[in-house]
């Protein structure tokens, strides 16, 4: 197959595939900021809520938690729906079963 034809084919495949499969979610980077600002107050070592990091749960466990709002609603009062989606996205993206940095520590 000619090279140009192949690339056209690949590009066509790319646009077709992404149009069907692309997912929308929260902003993970902003979620990290919101998590540190709002959640770590209670969820750090020695604090009232005990230490919580993204690694505390799996991706589906985080999603279940946010879907069913298994949390003291008062603590979430200051967070908008979009904020919660961002925090959920951050925790999901860095959950215990997500891709992790492959460093030695």
């Amino acid at each position: 197959m000619k090279l140009q034809k192949l690339f056209v084919l690949v590009l066509a495949l790319v646009f077709t595939a992404t149009a069907v499969l692309a997912v929308e979610g929260g902003n993970s980077r902003k979620g990290k900021y919101l998590f540190k600002k709002n959640c770590k107050v209670c969820h750090s070592e020695g604090a009232e809520g005990g230490n919580v990091t993204p690694l505390s749960k799996t991706q589906s466990q985080w999603d279940r938690m946010f879907k069913k709002a298994k949390h003291d609603p008062k603590a979430w009062e200051n967070l908008s729906e979009k904020d919660l989606l961002d925090v959920n996205q951050f925790l999901f993206d860095h959950a215990s079963d997500s891709d992790q940095p492959e460093t030695c520590g």
């Binding site: 192949l6 495949l13 595939a17 992404t18 993206d93 460093t103």
Partner: protein, 600 residues
């Protein structure tokens, strides 16, 4: 779990009691019996799952990348030659002029009228006091000059004194190479296991092959075509699965912030190369300076737990890149190289998800003129170095014998230093910049391909049967310290359906990082002595699958990118025939690629 189920049971019992008319005692007993049976079934299932988890010692994960590269090289030049000490040559002229004889003792001669060069050889010898009859004798010297007209011209011009270039009797060739499609598959299988609360095991198995080849050995036409320990994971080596990483990490040693990790290191795909890989940080050291498999040790201190700065970690790393004796025929006592050790500091000043600053300072001690490894002997070298072998090899032009190479000289040390910064904005954009420095120190020794960023000086000597002059490396042309620097900048912007990235890097004449395991099809772009630019588009299909389309353009200014062995030459000089290069020199190259990666 049992407590949870009991609470559910209690709730289920309480709810109908409150909500409906009071059931009979018999109804309640039946409900309790049914729920108890269900509870037993669930407990059994939980135990089975628990048993499975307990026996499932290793947690596997991985990714698979299939890639198509269209690779093009422009103005590849093969113009081999070496530097020869002609003063040493002249000192041996008597031995080199010993007449060669047939088996019956008859002195062999050549026809001085057979070619203009043969006439020149004859005239040269007569002009230097040889009797007319003796000047016609076939000797190791006359044999060599008959095969090397340029050498005769040099002698005639009185230029061959001191150290001079010596060209091999092959004409310079300059050509383009178009490999329209090069397919490859890279499979990486990650492993994690919990040894105890503080000790973890982690590893990664890698197979990286180009389609239609599982020989694991390539014809040696560049240092990338060399199957060796440090680059196995980054160069296609057939369908073999290599252990790219295998180490334990012992955290919180004695309840301190120290950790220890020993084994085959995570020393590939480090920051900031992870952006173009569209993955998390793939290794500990700066990817601009080190992308090379090492076996070694890291002692780290999580300073962030003291200072509160996210990700702040200080690490001392030590590794061995070359074992000089074991496996190298040490029992014969002929080893003259040293073990190569690498040590230094790798410091993350901050890594908080928005800002990342990394400092690197390493020293590679006792570098040799290569590594031990395997390649297929290039047919093109046979007439240059092995005329006797070539006599038979030319009958089998496609038979490349596989050989194990090992270096022969300890050529010096290299210091590496770098600082890198990456910024990740809320809107998904990322920007990074990295400055690198490599400084070499030479021992003045050299092997066949040269010394530390210096050419080898060859001295002529007779072979064991005294009938051929052979050139053997004697020393490096110089033992100067050489400074090299490199810059690497890039950005990645959110774009429809994914991300768009632009990167640029430059390496100076003596830029010599350890990034040879970077798995680019042409060569590690970050090792380029010259300019390299890349543009790519990543289509994020799902969080665990993406397609990447892009291209890399290489503009080499100097030869020998990625190797500390040999003096870098200006590519233009090689093109113009003013400089020699033992390996083909590439002027420019580009690689257009498309890949799809799935993570699992």
């Amino acid at each position: 779990m049992r407590l949870f189920l009991t609470l559910i049971l209690a709730g289920l019992i309480a709810l109908p009691t409150a909500a409906m008319a009071a059931p009979t005692l018999e109804d309640l007993q039946l409900q309790i019996k049914a729920l108890s049976e269900e509870l037993e079934d669930m407990s059994e299932l939980v135990e089975q799952a628990e048993t499975h988890v307990a026996k499932d010692r290793i947690n596997w994960y991985g990714d698979l990348r299939v890639k198509a590269d269209a690779v093009h090289y422009d103005d590849v030049t093969f113009n081999p030659g070496v530097k020869v000490d002609f003063d040493a040559f002249a000192a041996n002229m008597g031995a080199f002029s010993t007449p060669l004889t047939a088996l019956d003792g008859t002195v062999l001669t050549y026809d001085e009228t057979a070619s203009p060069n043969a006439t020149n050889v004859y005239n040269l010898l007569v002009g230097n006091g040889f009797p007319a009859a003796a000047a016609k004798n076939l000797t190791p010297l006359t044999s060599m000059m008959l095969a090397n007209p340029g050498m005769v011209d040099g002698f005639l011009a009185g230029q061959l004194t001191g150290v001079k270039n010596f060209s091999f009797p092959v004409p310079q060739k300059t050509y383009d190479i178009d490999n329209d499609i090069l397919y490859s598959t890279r499979l990486r299988l990650g492993m994690k296991a919990k040894v105890s609360n503080d000790i973890d095991f982690t590893g990664r198995l890698t197979m990286y092959k180009n389609w239609g080849d599982s020989t694991a050995v390539k014809v040696f036409d560049s240092w990338d075509a060399f199957t060796m320990d440090g680059t196995n994971s980054g160069n296609t080596t057939g369908d073999l699965v290599h252990v790219e990483r295998a180490m334990f990490i012992w955290n919180d040693i004695a309840d301190t912030n120290f950790y220890l990790s020993i084994g085959r290191r995570p020393s590939t795909y480090g920051m900031p190369t992870n952006y173009r890989e569209n993955e998390q940080r793939g290794g500990t050291p700066s990817g601009h300076l080190v992308n090379f498999n090492f076996d070694g040790v890291t002692i780290g201190y999580k300073l962030s737990k003291v200072t509160g700065v996210d990700g702040q970690t200080v690490r001392f790393c030590y590794g061995q890149g070359y074992e000089s004796e074991y496996g190298n025929g040490e029992l014969f006592g002929g080893i003259e190289t040293e073990d190569t050790h690498l040590g230094g500091f790798n410091i993350d000043l901050i890594n908080d998800g928005m800002h990342a600053v990394q400092l690197t300072a390493f020293r590679a001690q006792d570098i040799n003129d290569g590594f031990k490894g395997v390649f297929a002997f290039p047919t093109a070298y046979a007439p240059l170095f092995a005329p006797t072998m070539n006599a038979d090899m030319q009958k089998f032009p496609t038979f490349n014998f596989v050989t194990r190479y090992q270096p022969s000289a300890t050529i010096g040390n290299i210091n590496l230093a770098g600082i890198g910064y990456a910024y990740e904005a809320f809107n998904g954009a990322s920007f990074f910049g990295s400055l690198g420095y490599t400084g070499s120190e030479s021992t003045g020794e050299a092997g066949m391909f040269g010394g530390m960023l210096s050419d080898a000086v060859f001295e002529a000597q007779l072979n064991d049967t005294k009938d051929e002059i052979i050139m053997m490396p004697a020393r490096a042309e110089n033992d100067k310290d050489r400074d090299g620097y490199g810059i690497y900048v890039g950005m990645q912007l959110p774009a429809p359906m994914g991300k768009f990235g632009l990167e640029y890097n430059y390496g100076s004449m003596f830029w010599t990082p350890f990034t040879q395991a970077q798995d680019d099809a042409i060569s590690s772009k970050l090792a380029t002595r010259g300019h390299a630019g890349e543009a790519y588009y990543v289509f994020d299909i799902t969080p665990r699958a993406f397609i990447k389309v892009g291209g890399i353009y290489y503009d080499y200014k100097w030869t020998g990118s990625g190797s500390p062995v040999g003096e870098p030459k200006e590519v233009d000089d090689v093109l113009d025939g003013k400089a020699y290069s033992m390996l083909p020199a590439i002027d420019t190259a580009w690689d257009a690629y498309a890949s799809m990666t799935v993570k699992f």
